[in-house]
Amino acid sequence: MKGILFFACLVVFGSLLLYVFLTPSFASWKNKQVASYYIEKGLEKTGSANLVSSIVWDFRGFDTVGEETVLFTAAVGVFTIVVFGLKRRK
């Protein structure tokens, strides 16, 4: 019973997602002013041929710093958990 209910929830969730993805204006090129700005002006503004790199490190550089901080946090967290967990067992 619980399983059937769960599957029903999954189906409803999936169809909601599909409904959004299939709306006509979804991901159409005409509502992408930001992206076209990057493509047109990115090269001259940052001087980098790889536009993904220029977005990652220049336009949205702060995001990337946050992302590196997540990685750093994970390293510290794993260190805290695993190393001291091993010491405690001994």
């Binding site: 399983g3 769960f6 999954l10 969730f13 999936g14 997602l17 599909l18 993805f21 299939l22 991901a27 090129w29 992408k32 930001v34 992206a35 990057y38 493509i39 047109e40 990115g42 090269l43 041929a49 790889n50 536009l51 993904v52 977005i55 990652v56 949205r60 995001d63 990337t64 946050g66 992302e67 590196e68 997540v70 990685l71 946090t73 994970a74 390293a75 967290g77 794993v78 958990i81 695993v82 967990g85 067992r89």
Partner: protein, 116 residues
Amino acid sequence: MLEIYAGMVLVALIGIYCVVRKKNMIKKVIGLGVLTNSVHLLLITIGFQENGIPPIVTPTNIEYFVRYAVDPLPQALVLTSIVIQLSVTALALGIVILAYRGTKTLDMEKLNNLRG
């Protein structure tokens, strides 16, 4: 386009099923990975374009670059998101290792002693 989105939704549903219903802790972590990857697929698909070329300027494609280049922003988002997923998975595996050492089992039900 329908096939790609339907595939993405299917993968996402498999991931959610795996996270919620499986009892094994490693399988739950794998389910999280599957779910996140399906979202990455979605993000990449948003940038899709017919006859698109990669958003990297080279001397040969500089004339028609602006017209055909795909959207570079979702790719940058996916790059960020992958790193986040990597770190969450690492932390999850660390916790699973400790749980396994404590109880010698990977079963969520046997670990479960906090209730109410």
